[in-house]
C-alpha cells in the first residue's frame, strides 16, 4: 500500500540491524536515513533496501547556514528527513523498535495500520465511545450527530509501544522493571498488553506525541513537524517530539484536521539510562509547565490559512510569551522560523533539489 507515496525516516547513530526484522514490511518502501553524530562513521544498512542517507556533512551542505535549525547529537535530527522527502506520507520509527505481536501471536504490520489510520477520516469534533468508527466492526454510536459522520481528514497517526513504555526519567527511576502490562497479565501466555483501539484525540486537547512510531501526511502537516533544538549545545533533550506534538495539535485543531492515537503497537526493546535521561529532561520538566498552558491558550488568527503561516505565527508567540521563561525559547523560536525558510527552499517548485548522496544498496 502507498509504496510510492510514503517514505520511512529513521534517525540512527549506530547501525540499522533492526531493519532485518522489518524487512517483510519495509522492503517495498524508500528509506531516508538521517545519521546523527560522527559523520565519518559508516552506518551498516542491510542489503536490499532502497534508501538515501544523510549525515551531518550532508545536512550542512544542503542547508548551509540554515542547518542551525537541525539538532545535533539527538534523534530530533530526524526532521531533516521530513524536509528532504518528496513523498506525501512519512513513517518514522526508532532503531530500537521491533515488530510486535498481537494477542493472537500474529506479527503486527505497523506500517499497514498507520496507512489505514491516515487514509480513513478522524472524528475530532465529537468523541465516539466505540473509538474509531471507520474500523471494521465498529461504527458511530447512538446520539452521534449525523452531520459529523463524514469526519475530518487525518493528519497524524500516533502509534504505541509494548514492552518498554515511553516513560520520563523520574517515572523510570521509580518503576525500574515495569513493562506495559494490564491487570490480566498471565506470565505463561502472551499477556494482554494490548489495547485494541484507534481513536481521535478531540479538538482542543493536547497530548504527549512520541516520535518512536509515528506517521503523518507530510503534504498536510509536514511544515509543523519540526522537532526543535535538542542535544549538543542545547539545555534540553527528549522533548523534541513533545514540542512537535504540541505545535502540530494546535495547528491541526485550527485547520480542522484529525490526530489519531492507539494502534499500531511496535515492540520497544531498549530502556535508556534513566540518569542520563534525567539530565536531558530536567529543564523540560519545569518548562513544560509553562509551555502547556501557553499551547492550551493559543488562538491562531483566521488569516493563517496555511500550515506555514500558522507555524510562523506560533514562532512569534513562542518568542513573545515563552521567551520570558528562558532565553532557550528565543533560540527555539528562531529555529522554528529557520525551519520554515529551509522547508520552503527545499520544497517550493523553484527550490533547489536536495542531492541524495547514497542510493540503493543492492
Amino acid at each position: 500500500m502507498l509504496k510510492d507515496e510514503l517514505d520511512i525516516v529513521i534517525p540512527t547513530i549506530r547501525n540499522l540491524d533492526f531493519l532485518e526484522m522489518w524487512r517483510p514490511f519495509f522492503e517495498q518502501y524508500h528509506l531516508i536515513i538521517v545519521q546523527d553524530g560522527d559523520p565519518s562513521k559508516v552506518i551498516n544498512i542491510p542489503v536490499g533496501f532502497d534508501y538515501e542517507l544523510y549525515n551531518r556533512n550532508d545536512i550542512n551542505r544542503i542547508l548551509g547556514p540554515k542547518a542551525s535549525c537541525i539538532s545535533f547529537k539527538d534523534s530530533a535530527c530526524r526532521c531533516f528527513g521530513y524536509m528532504v522527502s518528496k513523498k506525501k506520507y512519512i513513517y518514522t520509527i526508532d532503531d530500537d523498535c521491533f515488530v510486535a505481536k498481537d494477542p493472537t501471536g500474529k506479527e503486527i504490520n505497523a506500517l499497514e495500520q498507520h496507512i489505514k489510520n491516515l487514509l480513513s477520516p478522524s472524528t475530532p469534533h465529537f468523541f465516539n465511545t466505540l473509538y474509531d468508527p471507520y474500523r471494521d466492526g465498529a461504527d458511530f454510536v447512538r446520539g452521534y450527530p449525523f452531520s459529523m459522520r463524514e469526519g475530518a481528514i487525518t493528519a497524524v497517526s500516533h502509534g504505541l509501544w509494548l514492552n518498554i513504555p515511553d516513560y520520563d526519567a523520574p517515572t523510570q527511576l521509580v518503576k525500574p522493571l515495569e513493562k506495559n502490562s494490564r491487570k490480566f497479565d498471565l506470565p505463561l501466555r502472551l499477556p494482554i498488553l494490548y489495547v485494541d483501539a484507534v481513536m481521535t484525540i478531540p479538538k482542543g486537547t493536547l497530548f504527549p506525541m512520541c516520535g518512536m512510531n509515528l506517521a503523518f501526511d507530510r503534504e498536510l502537516i509536514g511544515p509543523a513537524m519540526y522537532f526543535g533544538l535538542m542535544g549538543d549545545g542545547q539545555p534540553i533533550g527528549r522533548y523534541d517530539d513533545m514540542w512537535a506534538g504540541w505545535c502540530v495539535k494546535v495547528i491541526c485543531d485550527h485547520m480542522g484536521w484529525g490526530v489519531k492515537t492507539g494502534l499500531p503497537y511496535i515492540w520497544h526493546s531498549k530502556a535508556s539510562n534513566p540518569f542520563v535521561n534525567l539530565k536531558k529532561e530536567y529543564n523540560g520538566i519545569f518548562w513544560q509547565e509553562e509551555a502547556i498552558p501557553f499551547f492550551q491558550s493559543v488562538t491562531l488568527p483566521k488569516e493563517c490559512t496555511s500550515v506555514q503561516q500558522c507555524y510562523l505565527e506560533l514562532a512569534k508567540l513562542v518568542r513573545e510569551k515563552l521567551g520570558k521563561v528562558d532565553p532557550y525559547f528565543i533560540t527555539l523560536a528562531t529555529g522554528m522560523v529557520t525551519w520554515i525558510e529551509a522547508w520552503e527552499e527545499l520544497n517550493s517548485a523553484e527550490g533547489t533539489e536536495a542531492e541524495a548522496p547514497n542510493g540503493k544498496n543492492e
Binding site: 454510536v141 447512538r142 517515572t171 506495559n180 486537547t205 513533545m242 529532561e281
Partner: protein, 350 residues
C-alpha cells in the same frame, strides 16, 4: 483494587424495569450484585407485576411511590427509560451503578465474567485526567502510568464524576445504523479505561453507566423526551441529552468523565427497522444541540451542580426553545428536577 476493597455500603444499584420479568436479568447478575443494595424502579406505564427472584437486598418503587414522593403530575417525568432517575433521586448512597434490564455480564477475552459493578466503582474512586490526554489511557491502573511529556502538575488528576461503560454483542448504535447492518455485533473488547478530555462532547449511553451521586447527582437530568419515545433504546435520546448536560457541567466544575471498561453483554430487544419507521426526530434534536453545547459557557458564579443545571436550563430555553418544543419541555423538566432534588434531599437530611 478488588471487589473485596470496595465499600458496598456506598453503592446503590439502580435498575429501571421496563420488563416485568427480571428473573433472568437478576439471576445472571447475582454474583456481582450480591452484597449490594438494589433499587428497582418500575416503569409507571408497565402494567404487569414485577417478578423478582429471592435473595436480593432490594427496594422496589412503582408509580404509587413516585406519586407519593413527587406528586401525580411530576410522576410523568419518570416514564419509560427515565424511571431510573426516580431511583437516583431517592437514593442516599455516594455511588450509583445503573444497567439496562436487557444486559447480562460480559466475558473478557480470557473467558472470565466481567464484574461491571466493581469496575465502575474503581473508575469512580480513582482520579480522572481530563486536562491532558494520556496516550497509555488510564494512568492509575496497574501496570500503566503517565507517559513522558505528561505535565507533572496535572498528575494528581481530578474527581471522577461518571463512568461510562460499553457493550459487547448489541452495541448502542442508532436505529438507521443497526437497520443497515443487521448482522453487526460488537466483538471488540478494548481493554482500557480513559478520561474523555475536557471540552470534548460525547454521546453518553444510559445502558451501562455509573456516577458519583454526591458529586454530580442533580446533573443527571431526566429532561429530553422525544415525542414518539418508545420502550427500546432506539426510540429514546433521554440519556444522550442527560450526558451532554452532565459532561458540560463536569467540565465547568473541573470533574472528569471516564469511558471504556466495563463491558456488559447486551441482548436483542426490539427491531431496528421497526424503530426506523417512526419519524426519527432524535436526529434533528441532536443536530441542534451540538452547536448549542459547543458555544455554551456557564457563568463563573455557578459553582454548585444545582445552579449549573438551572443556568443550563435557562440557556436551553433561550437559545433552543424556539427551535423545537421538546427543548422547552426539557428546560422546564430540568428546573422541576432541581426543585424535586432539593425537596427530596433536604427532607431526607432533616
Amino acid at each position: 483494587m478488588s471487589s473485596a476493597e470496595i465499600n458496598k455500603n456506598e453503592v446503590d444499584i439502580v435498575i429501571g424495569a421496563l420488563n416485568a420479568d427480571l428473573t433472568q436479568f437478576l439471576t445472571s447478575w447475582r454474583p456481582f450484585f450480591s452484597g449490594f443494595h438494589l433499587i428497582v424502579v418500575k416503569d409507571p406505564e408497565l402494567k404487569e407485576e414485577l417478578n423478582i427472584p429471592e435473595g436480593f437486598d432490594v427496594d422496589v418503587y412503582s408509580k404509587t411511590d413516585m406519586e407519593k414522593v413527587v406528586g401525580a403530575s411530576n410522576a410523568t417525568m419518570f416514564s419509560g427509560y427515565s424511571c431510573r432517575y426516580f431511583g437516583y433521586l431517592i437514593s442516599k448512597k455516594k455511588y450509583i451503578v445503573s444497567i439496562d434490564d436487557d444486559c447480562v455480564p460480559a466475558k473478557d477475552p480470557k473467558g472470565f465474567l466481567v464484574d461491571a459493578v466493581t469496575q465502575h466503582v474503581i473508575n469512580l474512586e480513582n482520579p480522572a485526567t481530563p486536562l491532558f490526554f494520556n496516550t497509555l489511557y488510564d494512568p492509575y491502573c496497574e501496570g500503566a502510568d503517565f507517559v513522558r511529556g505528561y505535565p507533572f502538575s496535572l498528575r494528581s488528576g481530578v474527581p471522577c464524576a461518571a463512568s461510562c461503560g460499553l457493550w459487547l454483542n448489541l452495541a448502542d448504535l442508532d436505529a438507521p445504523t443497526q437497520a443497515l447492518k443487521t448482522e453487526q455485533r460488537n466483538t471488540s473488547y478494548v481493554d482500557a479505561v480513559m478520561t474523555v478530555p475536557a471540552k470534548a462532547m460525547l454521546p453518553i449511553s444510559g445502558i451501562n453507566i455509573a456516577f458519583n451521586r454526591e458529586l454530580v447527582g442533580p446533573a443527571l437530568v431526566p429532561a429530553l423526551r422525544l415525542a414518539g419515545e418508545g420502550k427500546v433504546r432506539w426510540e429514546t435520546l433521554e440519556d444522550v441529552w442527560c450526558g451532554m448536560c452532565l459532561k458540560h457541567i463536569s467540565d465547568h466544575l473541573g470533574y472528569g468523565v471516564k469511558t471504556g471498561l466495563p463491558y456488559v453483554w447486551r441482548n436483542e430487544r426490539g427491531d431496528a427497522v421497526e424503530s426506523l419507521r417512526k419519524k426519527w426526530e432524535g436526529m434533528k434534536l441532536m443536530e441542534k444541540s451540538v452547536p448549542f453545547f459547543e458555544s455554551l459557557k456557564l457563568p463563573e458564579t455557578a459553582l454548585k451542580v444545582e445552579d449549573c443545571v438551572i443556568e443550563l436550563a435557562k440557556a436551553v430555553k433561550e437559545q433552543l426553545g424556539s427551535d423545537d418544543p421538546a427543548f422547552t419541555q426539557a428546560a422546564d423538566a430540568m428546573v422541576k428536577w432541581i426543585q424535586l432534588w432539593n425537596s427530596v434531599n433536604s427532607s431526607a437530611r432533616s
